[in-house]
């Protein structure tokens, strides 16, 4: 079947197998930031945006993206780098394999809410497993980023 979508800002049409998962489709398009960590929708590694809403690309047929916008970390380079600097400052990226999914979801959260509380951050990112970091460094990084953004923009952002 033919799939037409906007991937990271680029409109494209592709012939696809109807059964292909969005995750596999995205990797075949060179979006290697999208990782698979499970087969049971438990890990969050495969998180991408479908029309700006975070979804698990392992649990979605590529066909569902018909006519819609899909964004992976490749399409968010600048936004990602801003936040990434703060995670890196904590040394919290460790093996990095969970990072893209975590970054996508963290970016979604910070777009939704400029100053989430610690509990809100934890709740929102609960589906993003990380086996290396123990999560605290990621949390410190996000909190430091929020502080920075506040001072950068002179008060609550957005």
């Amino acid at each position: 079947m033919e799939l037409t979508l906007t991937l990271n800002g680029k409109k494209m049409s592709r012939l696809i197998e109807p059964g292909i998962l969005l995750l596999d489709f995205l990797r075949s398009e060179g979006c290697y930031s999208v990782k698979r960590g499970c087969e049971t929708s438990n890990c969050g590694l495969c998180t991408v945006f479908l029309d700006d809403v975070p979804v698990l690309s392992c649990s979605l047929l590529a066909a569902r993206a018909q006519g819609r916008r899909v964004t992976t970390l490749e399409g968010l380079r600048q936004e990602a780098e801003e936040l990434a600097a703060f995670i890196a400052a904590q040394g919290a990226e460790q093996c990095g394999f969970c990072n893209p999914g975590f970054m996508m979801n963290a970016i979604a959260l910070l777009r939704e809410k400029a100053e989430p509380s610690v509990d809100e951050i934890r709740d929102y990112l609960a589906g993003n497993l990380c086996r290396c970091s123990g999560y605290e460094g990621q949390l410190r990084g996000i909190l430091a980023f929020i502080e920075w953004r506040k001072s950068e923009k002179g008060g609550a952002a957005r």
Binding site: S33, E39, T72, L73, E81, C95, G96, G134
Partner: protein
């Protein structure tokens, strides 16, 4: 120190955080054959026949291999990545006729796409002779069912192995007369502990791709902690010379010891070697949960002898470690089960006896801490129970009995405790956690109980007299450096830490050191990243290489400036004559080194160690317990660590936090259990519950460093140590809350609820 002991970001941080394609499956050629395994549905069976005709008729199928396709003289090998000759018995074949656990490979299928391979797997017809499995490790020794009856099974090292008795290893060690000591004690606590198998659950499952290079050699690229061991193991498995194999390690998505075993490499290696086509295997999470290399399930009997005044006089431990179907890391993991926890205490005598047994469970392997977390749970739980029996504070009991710096350690291979801040760790942990003010247990407004528990731990730093650390440093263009290593950065940050050590010695910026690793054709030999060795052992190699390169730089400068080397001072930026009559910048030296030069500015250093200096940790768990449901929620975990000098405090801290959370998982939710037919129940991340960020509570980690003279800039290890304390500390906290002890990990809500209910009835 300018760069060592500072929290510089990891050199690869931004690449990882922005999702760049740096992992095995991102780099695999697009035309790779897809390799998958047909796995045994039975825990014990013999393959009578395999009919692969139908599978081979599928157009996109390239090959189907079974035991019949292996060379007749194929030799057994071990998948354990250890220095040769490996202590782990040679008990594997790539494909065997005898299947020893549910998941043991029966056939290898290679095809041009997933769908074809999937179909082929379904079409292979196998006739099995199903045998009765042996699933209980406590009756495995001398059982009538023998897991490895074959005659070509071989133990290369004297580890007390005997396949005809299901023994992968048997070990005994002691100092003093333990029976006499115990007979003379006021109290002898005699308890049996059990820790279940737990999974590393690195987020990147096992994966490997293989190609053939310009020279017809086999190139293996994959997620491994032990590239040089992989080279040897695969060569042995395929029966080809090691010189025909090259191993490359890109970024790894976590290892934790899992990738110290060659779980995935041999299959695509066989396919590519036979077909001469690129191939790759990517384990599903299901395979990773059912056919991998989890921690050894261990049963331990501990006898702890003490006096009424709290003096601990003797520890006796007998351990039965379940290595499952194969003996990867079996003989060596168990060693830590006894020696690490027993060594924490000054005793008159000790004894440690262990049997490592084969069963028809999934084979065990290396997991962070190796065998130590099991033993630490047993001994630290026993000491906590002793404290309760004596009515003595758990910290006070430790303070009376711990080892100190300078102590001779009979249960630790006769080493001397050269650097030890365990006493300071205790004091700090007590203060930090509010141990005295809070009390062991208090009722909360919401009806729950908040309780505290504590435990200590130690680990080692590298395997002395055996493993080798290696580093090559060379001067590059513009006066920058290349650091080539054979140790695997698996997310731990060793590329960065080793560059910090080089930069410190060479007095340059961290950015001036480019790190390369690992390629067995280009990297200096290194045993690999395991046994908490990288910072301590490879770090020393880097230190030595950097010091020698400095010396060579002054040599070259002296030649060019026409003076003696001792008339030159090198400050990292330039080499100048002491009398001020001439100087060369590093960049000028770099240019000079490439024209008419015969001083090689390329240094390789290899190091071994003569000791394995232990790092120490004290952990305090604060947990909330719902006595109705038995739910246990970690509220706060306090960790105080002595890893010597922290080369990079941030990375050491995150290592510690990650280890604590893994330990919390092991304590409360992670569990591998078997159906009566030998199938693993927890076969996904849905059933096997690793902590999410809602499950760990808050973490506070601080360092109380000692200074280890033999380590680079005083450093010891950190990676494994930090997983050890949560098991016993959390179990102790629960015991303090519900008044019953727990002798098994994980402690499940059911057990807690039952214990709480039983107490209410009384």
């Amino acid at each position: 120190m300018k760069i060592v002991n500072t929290s510089v970001p990891k050199k690869d941080a931004l690449q990882l955080l922005t999702g760049q394609p740096v992992y095995t499956d991102d780099l695999a050629p697009k035309d790779c054959l897809i390799v998958r395994l047909l796995r045994s549905p039975y825990a014990s069976a013999i393959v009578k026949s395999v009919n692969k005709k139908a599978a081979l008729l599928i157009p996109d199928i390239e090959a189907v291999y079974t035991w019949e396709d292996l060379p007749a003289d194929a030799k057994r090998f071990t998948l354990a990545g250890q220095t040769y000759p490996e202590p782990s018995p040679h008990d594997h074949l790539i494909l065997d006729r005898r299947l020893r656990y549910v998941g043991d490979p029966v056939a290898i299928v290679a095809g041009r796409n997933e769908a074809a391979v999937e179909k082929a797997l379904a079409l292979i017809k196998v006739e099995y002779e199903v045998l009765e499995p042996l699933l209980d490790p406590t009756v495995a020794k001398d059982n009538k069912i023998i897991v490895h009856p074959e005659d070509d099974w071989e133990a290369l090292c004297p580890v007390g192995a005997d396949n005809k008795r299901n023994l992968c290893a048997h070990a005994e060690s002691n100092a003093g007369d333990i029976e006499a000591t115990l007979a003379d004690c006021d109290i002898v606590l005699d308890r049996t502990y059990h820790t279940k198998a737990v999974q590393q659950c690195m987020m990147e499952t096992y994966r490997t791709f293989c190609t053939i290079d310009t020279y017809g050699r086999l190139v293996i690229t994959g997620a491994t902690q032990v590239p040089f061991h992989v080279r040897r193991i695969v060569a042995l498995a395929l029966g080809i010379p090691k010189s025909k194999v090259r191993v490359i390690k890109p970024r790894i998505g976590g290892g934790f010891g899992a990738k110290q075993t060659c779980v995935s490499e041999v299959y695509p290696a066989l396919v590519t070697w036979l077909t001469k086509k690129p191939s790759k295997i990517v384990f599903s999470r299901y395979e990773c949960m059912t056919a991998s290399s989890p921690r050894h399930e261990t049963h331990m009997r501990v006898r702890l002898g003490a006096m009424k005044d709290g003096r601990i006089r003797g520890i006796d431990m007998y351990a039965v470690s379940n290595t499952g179907a194969y003996g990867d890391h079996g003989p060596t993991t168990v060693d830590l089960t006894g020696h690490k926890p027993i060594t924490l205490y000054r005793t008159e005598s000790y004894r440690f006896v262990a049997d490592v047994v084969y069963t028809n469970n999934m084979p065990a392997g290396a997991y962070r801490g190796y065998g130590a977390p099991q033993g630490m749970f047993a001994v630290e739980s026993a000491v906590n129970e002793l404290a309760a029996l004596l009515g003595m504070d758990a910290f006070l009991l430790r303070e009376k009995n711990i080892i100190h710096e300078g102590d001779y350690l009979p249960s630790y291979y006769g080493e001397t405790n050269t650097s030890c801040a365990l006493d300071r760790c205790l004091a700090r942990a007590k203060e930090l956690s509010g141990w005295e003010e809070k009390g062991l247990c208090r009722k909360l407004q919401n009806g729950k109980v908040r309780a505290l528990g504590m435990a200590m731990a130690m680990q080692g730093s590298a395997i002395p007299y055996l493993d080798v650390g290696g580093a090559t440093l060379r001067l590059g263009d513009e006066g920058t450096y290349n650091l080539l290593i054979g140790a695997s950065d698996m997310g731990t940050g060793c590329d960065t830490i080793l560059a910090q050590i080089a930069a410190e010695v060479l007095e340059c910026d961290l950015d001036a050191v480019s790190v390369f690793g690992v390629d067995t054709d280009a990297s200096p030999y290194d045993s690999g990243s395991y046994a908490s060795s990288t910072t301590y052992l490879t770090g020393q190699a880097v230190y030595q290489a950097a010091a020698e390169l400095r010396r060579r730089l002054t040599l070259l400068a002296a030649k060019l400036l026409k003076c003696e080397a001792d008339e030159i001072i090198f400050d990292g930026k330039k080499a100048a004559k002491i009398d001020g009559s001439g100087a060369l910048t590093l960049a000028e030296l770099a240019v000079a080194s490439q024209a008419g030069n015969d001083v090689a500015l390329d240094v390789t250093a290899s190091t071994k160690s003569t000791a394995s200096p232990p790092p120490f940790m004290v952990g305090v768990a604060e947990v909330d317990i719902d006595t109705e449901t038995g739910e246990v929620r970690p509220v706060h975990y306090y960790g105080v660590v002595d890893c010597g000098t922290c080369i990079n405090p941030n990375l050491a801290k995150v290592q510690t936090e990650g280890g604590i959370v893994q330990g919390i998982g092991m304590a409360l939710s992670e569990n591998v259990t078997y159906a009566p037919d030998g199938r693993v129940y927890e076969n996904s991340l849905m059933q096997y519950k690793i902590p999410s960020r809602l499950d760990n509570g808050r973490l506070t980690v601080v360092f109380e460093p000692s200074y280890e003279k033999s380590g680079p800039f005083g450093a010891k290890s950190i990676g494994e140590l930090v997983i050890n304390t949560p098991g016993p500390a959390i179990a102790a906290a629960i015991a303090n809350a519900v008044g019953a002890r727990f002798y098994e990990l994980p402690v499940t809500p059911e057990q807690v609820a039952m214990a709480a209910a039983a107490r209410k009835k009384k």
